[in-house]
Symmetry: C2
Amino acid sequence: MPTQEPSAPPRKRADARRNEQALLEAAAAAFVEAGVDAPVRDIARRAGVGVGTIYRHFPTRADLVVAVYRHQVESCAAAGPRLLAESPSPHAALTAWIHLFVDFLVTKHGLAEALRSDDPAFASLHEWFLDRLVPVCGDLLRAARAAGEVGSDVDPQHLMFGVGNLCIGAARIGRAETLRLVDLLVAGLRVGPGTPPPAPSA
Amino acid sequence: MPTQEPSAPPRKRADARRNEQALLEAAAAAFVEAGVDAPVRDIARRAGVGVGTIYRHFPTRADLVVAVYRHQVESCAAAGPRLLAESPSPHAALTAWIHLFVDFLVTKHGLAEALRSDDPAFASLHEWFLDRLVPVCGDLLRAARAAGEVGSDVDPQHLMFGVGNLCIGAARIGRAETLRLVDLLVAGLRVGPGTPPPAPSA
DNA sequence: TTGACAACCGGAACACTGTTCCGTTACGTT
DNA sequence: AACGTAACGGAACAGTGTTCCGGTTGTCAA
């Protein structure tokens, strides 16, 4: 039994697979040094291929970024339910999960910037992040609301949007200060006895 | 008595003054349409001058942006003390002032992005905003803390940094939602009976 | 093993950025 | 009116992303 579904493409040529792998490694290295905006030519040179080869394997930059960071985003998504089960409260789980997300973002130069960019080259990156992580965030948020810890009915997508934005330029003020701002945002979600209603009609 | 301090430059040539004015108007128009990243050639063409003329009058892009938005930032800075005097509480004044700041940012395409950018061309823009607005924000924050409304000792510079970041890409989620996120951040500052300590080593 | 063909490759070429530089223009002064 | 120079304008350069096509090579059938 073949390990591929019916009508699957007949497996790429050896050189193509080799180059794709080389490109992934070269891109990962380049991203660490120069951020996700590393020049195409640099990545091609590192991988020992021509620029055309990059565009054939990864039509947009987002495709390349997605391929490089796929595993890490998946593990972040998987951490959501686990944290919800292990944490003392849903809000604690939400906070911990968001810390995970922040840690991921701030260690990837330029990723947060790319995420909020409206550059069409990053559209699919944006979409992928949202598809993968927003539901997880939504679950955590819903649980926290059900537990009465969160009053505001903020859209999980907007919350993640805000957290992502706060991570932009984290290098300037430092990781700790960035986390502090994010904590402020998440703290703002909490329903407190004295919390003023920020909702339009409460 | 001349209306200029001693050793002042002997007043520029007429064509130079004319071109500078034309450039300011052209840049303002271009910024509205294409954001603060509008191509240099576009601005030059609108003003009917060569690109060299832009660089002579405004060595960096930040200089041009500062010149275009100077009045609006000044009026925002001036609003701080006024709001503090007129508002029912310091925290209300802080909230209102931040709304003013947000309104200014979200109506200028790309300004928030430029503000957080580490592009050296925008370094002086960043510095100018900070010099002009952070002290105002600091006064509001201090007053709110003195009134016992704010517990956290967040650096005003970091708060403005965060608010600015939240305004990035505001067009995507809309002005109202952006304001909501900002309100969440400011609400997180409030000291509430049930507020969890956001201490670093928590 | 050999040959043919499609998949694949590489990089030149293009379009578009910002930035610099210097020959030319024209303003203000004498 | 003549002159010195501040100011001008745009060609030229350097660095992006993106496309395209002639040459190469892996793969499979004969």
